[in-house]
Symmetry: D2
Subunit: 399 residues, 4 copies
């Protein structure tokens, strides 16, 4: 760590699952990577005074507050890290950008298209003044995913023909699992589609360099009523229940799609795939090769190279732990794995590097808006039973 | 083999890929299974006199002819085995049934819905007179597939929620691969959809016991023109070519679907999945468990049992080579694999058993017609860009 | 099949597990491969008149007898196929060779070193008169194994450093499993060591081209007494038992070894590896690459090529079903698997080809004797608790 | 984190690979686990003033020194964390224990048996005064390994019959790789045997609850001379070389073994397994089940349960990321992986818990001495070409 390093002072809003993961990243990133900026965990905000104090102590934040707006008005904070549920993203991020704070915002960017458009427009305006923003599609920062991107970009797969992507979970297969906020449309926006479908949309577009242009979809809610949790924040089935309520989001969303570079695709996001815990799987077939990624084996990438001798071709299991793989040189020797949290550390690394050097940052809020527009097309197609085109993001921004 | 065994005398029409596989099955079935009927390879027919004579010698048929109608009029033939391309299935099968011959017909049942309806009607009429018929969806006879069916039927998966099925090949990714007959709609009916998509439609309906009721689809032809083969029967790229012609079938077909028992599904059939040779893969998720099958590892079945203790749950790799697995007791000790051809031997076994004992046979021509109706719905949906319902097979038959 | 083909008339001795597998091979080989000789299943012999008659009918042999010597004296038999237990191999094979019959003898070649030496000497003498012999190490004929051999021979692995080979089964883990003849030294010679250990010794020597020169071993018998089977030929645990008897062979044999080309190795053969059914696994590491084979996935070969770019190296799963893989062109399209029995069909193919053309045949009886000498060194080492050199086979033959 | 938490002030000696991993653990452990003690990173020592200062800044240590003895004499340090090469372990650890400091010492415990005995004796003496010690066999703290241990302890595997363990690496296959200190016996003690062989010895003894009682071994040095590195601390091949020197340690060590509970085993440690990066693999077969672990897939455990219905048995891939798996509840949701470094965080957790509560700690220095005695038996056996018994550790301690 050179002595010229400047601090980047962070205010984080929210401290639950994502807040915990981001905290681990901010604590670790400068211990592992040499960067032009040093992350400082200045303050965290949350609604409950006692809980936010405990979280600050546990996670390593110097200060805490119950007023997220106070983070934005402080002079000694440079970046706002938005880790709240989606319904508050727009308000916080737009206010922060307006105050000249860099913003890292968790995905999905927003709960509505209108909010997302407003955020993307705010980000474009802020960028002109040197204020940077980024949406937290952390899976781009898994070394195997970045390697997949590099192979495609280097032409090793040739022309991309097929994408097949699934994100499979099973945490609500029990019909007695309660009606937590993630199963309520007014709070969560959508169900499996926005929560995990958004990840595979972003990831496959990132890797292929192609955008989804149209879709044909169906969605399903298998369990239409669930017990109400006694405690509105409860996630476990053991809480006292007080009746049942309607599930108002999708349990599963499936669609076929065309990409603007000529590829065709299938996508599936579900919370009812018994036995699949975090089954984000992507296969991409090109004219010269194929790649396969499975997040449950996130340190591996399968690669088929059709340029090898015909009797030696096969899907090769690359253990993505070599020094010349993306991000890996900073970590452990070959064969020593990294985990889920490292994707956030790499995200923090890329963001600190980009802010410090002025390099471009992706995914931008406009990129994230485009993902929202795909989600919107999926919902329209499922509702209408017809092919739906994805609306353009950039034109709207320009207007 | 008991001395009471009666011969079942077979006339086979066609001797190419499917004819070779069927011949291996007829030669082997009574050597391995104890059955009420003994297969006799009485005669084979084909158009080229020299080639059919050579095929008869090579494959073990006692006689050969260039006139398939002569097989149907002979008194010493009990069953007609139809191994020709799809455009002649209807004529041969209907004539054979009318002549009182049992019929085994390769899939897809026919190239058009009208032909398929006529065949199904003829089979129903013949059945009344004790004449039996069966369509050759051989993958049902893979032990792992039959075990999958048994697990579902025994309720081990609970309520079926999800089906995801792909059939991936890559034999025409090279744009210089010639325009063989399988790429011409007038001869082949359709492309990947009917050739391999039909298999996963039948297999998943068989295993789940549910029928596809509606679909939303897209199809694509990546390479729209190809070199004409110098020899119309040629399958290799090395032949002298005489120009180019239009590819008139789909290279790939993708669709999402609803099944009549409440499951939802994705299907994909393609010949452009680089590195996938015969990648028929099916995953089925139920409320109590899941199964996964991959034909490239056809002796294995993955099974997830959600009734096990939570810290011991996982996808189990069952090596389907135990004596209590379907069909296996007749073969080798545990851990000794069987291959592709065995599915045909098992099909022959089931057919001989059913004819000999009068037991029901599946898939019937009506079952196979229903698969054709799904293919038809897929093509309509892809053409119209809208959800398409699958027409009912049974009602039409009844009418 | 060309019209010039000459018949090779076969007399088989024994009709149990190996006899069934060999019969399938003889029935099939000329249906699949174009060969200079055509196998004729002339006669089979066995001790029980009723059983051998039934076996002949079931397996497709034209005649049957209870006197194996009559097969040897018949003029219309060209080859004796020895499928009996090991204690009769020497007598039958030596008599057949003396009578000018070609011999295919199942492994292990014999139950004692002396017998094996006598057989090897007889084979060398007979060879001078154009009479051929071969020992049935069928696993050499698995396409993936032959491909492994080719990769090593082509130098793709560089200098061979490591061999690790296991053959894992679990069929006698139950202590109530009865004392069948395979568990009695006077009948079986040895236990896991000779039955399955012999296979991995032969296979690894074949693939590497190196011979085991010395070993350090231990053997174990976990269950020292077992119920006596009521029926001495019984293999199942359900038979009436009449007391218990001593297990006189090894349940497991483990050894480390040096090979004469500089490689070092571990070997393990056991019948107590719960869950492993036919787990013949071999990994070979060379200075430039590695290969891995698992018989439970016999259509696959894993290959690591250290000459690839460092960020693309990985163990590649080659599906050994391409036309340019050994033996495969005669079978099915890519991705369509073959099974255990095909190794015997390939063995028959190679033998018919070699006899028909006069080409060399391996493994010879001398090769098989060398395997016996390794087994002998293992037993000596385990008994003495010291390193044991493998005695030379060739010198003894010469003397 | 409760307010009653007491600090445990740490002085770490050495800051290279292991020091980096330990620092990550000390920084993280209290952020993730609720513990009776809070780790404080008080000071680090190293020989080079500039490098140790940089390391302290990078890794997060409050102070730094070039004199490790100063750490031991300070009153404000409670625990000495020994991360130096093996030749200094004894001196540092014994001095620290004598000064009343708890000690965490990296493996292998020492370079010689005499040193290890002295350390174990010192630890036993110190324990009487409440001073605790532990050897850093971190792989015990991988959740899948701890689960394996739990399954064995719960009797799910029945009587243990077989252990097969390998630790495969490939970082010195290139003969031009220089003669770094790890390849020199006077500095490293031994080669692959002590470096990685020690891990699989400890791990398998821990999981099975059985101790190795005797071995038969061979060792090999494939590349006997290597270029001298220009910089004696260099690990990379690019340094200026000044000639060649002798490799004085083993490149590979192989042995068969008996365990004191009746199991038999094979072990292999090598740095020449091309393509294997950190291939620590263990399979254990018991009378009722089997487990398989592969560190390159450290979040998974394969489990075969012979108590399941026979047609459903198979090796189950348990994704060891459920809340009821060891250590996992503190981390991420199911299906979200952890990495190599987490084993050190878990080790820190267990040590803080044990010191804080007075609970037993394993592995003790006596446990680590026993591993050294196994290494010693392996070296004796390889040198003598005979079976070698492992000397008892506990008796010597008692004396």
């Amino acid at each position: 760590m050179s002595t010229q390093t400047t601090d980047l002072r962070i205010g984080m809003v929210g401290y639950a699952f994502m807040g915990t993961a981001h905290s681990q990243a901010w604590r670790t990133v400068n211990r592992v990577f040499d960067l032009p900026l040093r992350a400082r965990m200045t303050a965290v905000s949350g609604r409950d005074p006692g809980k936010v104090a405990a979280a600050a102590a546990q996670l390593g934040w110097a200060e805490h507050t119950t007023d997220w707006r106070s983070l934005i008005t402080r002079d000694d904070i440079d970046l706002i890290d938005v880790c709240t549920p989606g319904d508050s993203h727009a308000e916080i991020a737009i206010a922060a950008l307006a105050a000249g704070k860099h913003v890292l915002c968790e995905k999905p960017l927003a709960n509505t298209i209108d909010e997302a458009r407003a955020m993307a427009a705010a980000a474009v305006r802020a960028q002109a003044g040197g204020v940077r923003s980024m949406c937290g599609f952390n899976y781009r920062r898994v070394p195997a995913v970045a390697l997949m991107r590099r192979l495609v970009a280097d032409g090793r797969l040739g022309e991309i023909r097929h994408v097949r992507a699934v994100y499979l979970q099973d945490w609500i297969t029990d019909p007695q699992f309660p009606l937590v906020w993630r199963l309520q449309k007014d709070k969560a926006g959508s169900g499996a589609l926005g929560d995990i479908g958004a990840h595979i949309i972003d990831l496959t577009q990132y890797v292929t360099g192609q955008r989804i242009s149209g879709v044909s979809a169906l969605t399903e809610t298998f369990v239409k009523q669930r017990p109400l949790p006694g405690d509105s924040s409860g996630l476990s089935a053991g809480d006292t229940v007080t009746g049942t309520g309607d599930v108002t989001v999708d349990d599963a969303a499936l669609f076929v799609a065309r990409l603007d570079g000529g590829a065709i695709a299938t996508y599936e996001a579900t919370r009812f795939a018994t036995g699949r815990k975090n089954g984000l799987r992507v296969e991409i077939n090109g004219s010269q090769g194929s790649v396969v990624f499975d997040f449950e084996r996130m340190n591996e990438l399968e690669f088929y190279d059709a340029a090898l001798p015909s009797d030696e071709q096969g899907f090769s299991r690359i253990l993505v732990t070599e020094p010349d793989h993306p991000y890996v040189a900073a970590w452990w020797p070959p064969g020593h794995l990294i985990g889920y949290e490292h994707s956030f550390t790499h995200q923090a690394r890329d963001l600190l590097e980009a802010i410090g050097t002025g390099a471009p940052i992706a995914p931008s809020f406009t990129d994230a808006l485009q993902v929202q527009l795909v989600l919107d097309a999926v919902e329209r197609s499922a509702a209408l039973g017809s092919w739906s085109e994805v609306e353009p993001a950039l034109t709207e921004i320009a207007a």
